[in-house]
Amino acid sequence: MPSALINVPAKAKRGDIIEIKTLMSHIMETGYRHTASGDSVPRDIITSFVCRFNGNEIFRADLFPAIAANPFFSFFTTVTESGKFEFEWVGDKGFSESASASITVE
């Protein structure tokens, strides 16, 4: 089962720069490995990650097989209002997962 871990502070002061950490469980199969019998293992990776805050994109990443299994990202944003972060991972074989986290800005 795919599952996401999100770390966003629950509260912040207006204008604070906050760190967002995300982790999605995924094998990130590179497509460059072979089984013992010599068959190549098909690529199965997450290809893109997007974070939106109240509908506006604040961070996006293109992933390649060189991103380690269970992709982890940490990035920053300035918060000016309360709202909801939405996270979306899209990948090979129809992989699509999303998660969200709310923040209260005082």
């Binding site: 293109d62 390649f64 920053f76 300035t78």
Partner: protein, 152 residues
């Protein structure tokens, strides 16, 4: 077999061996990395500086290598980092990741975990809002390679 045909045969065999070498499985090389970088920069000059690339210089396990890229930038609407692109020389593909930031990021810093198939150079390039490109590179020694090992 007289001497001349033997020589020709050897030349042919040598050529075939050379061809076999060039037909080996795809591997990013400094040349393909340069091509991947040109795809991003469109041939614009890339200056060294502003970018800080944190990767451990000695890596025990190439399957998961922590990496942090930060760029010295005020991250203001008129002067910010648009994107950060990370490349390598010797993985099967030259790209590692592209990261697109917003001017509201506050701090131009991204961390993730990457795979390294061999001891090699890792390059990070930042595209700024004024259209200039800045880079940093790190030479990494990897003891256990990633990506291409067999599945057991």
């Amino acid at each position: 077999m007289d001497e001349s045909t033997r020589r020709e045969f050897l030349a042919l065999a040598g050529g075939a061996a050379m061809l076999a070498v060039t037909l080996r499985p795809a591997e990013a090389t400094p040349a393909t990395m340069a091509a991947a970088i040109r795809n991003v920069t469109g041939g614009e000059p890339v200056k060294t500086g502003k970018v800080k690339l944190d990767v451990p210089p000695l890596v025990e396990n190439g399957n998961t290598v922590p990496m942090t890229v930060s760029v010295a930038s005020p991250m203001a609407p008129e002067d910010h980092v648009r994107s950060i692109h990370v490349f390598n020389e010797k993985n099967p593909q030259p790209n590692i990741g592209n990261f697109y930031l917003s001017p509201h990021a506050g701090r131009a810093q991204v961390s993730t975990r990457i795979r390294l198939a061999d001891s090699q150079k890792v390059v990070a390039i930042a595209k700024l809002s004024d259209g200039t490109f800045w880079s940093a590179s790190v030479d990494v020694i990897v003891t256990l390679a990633a990506c291409t090992e067999d599945v057991i």
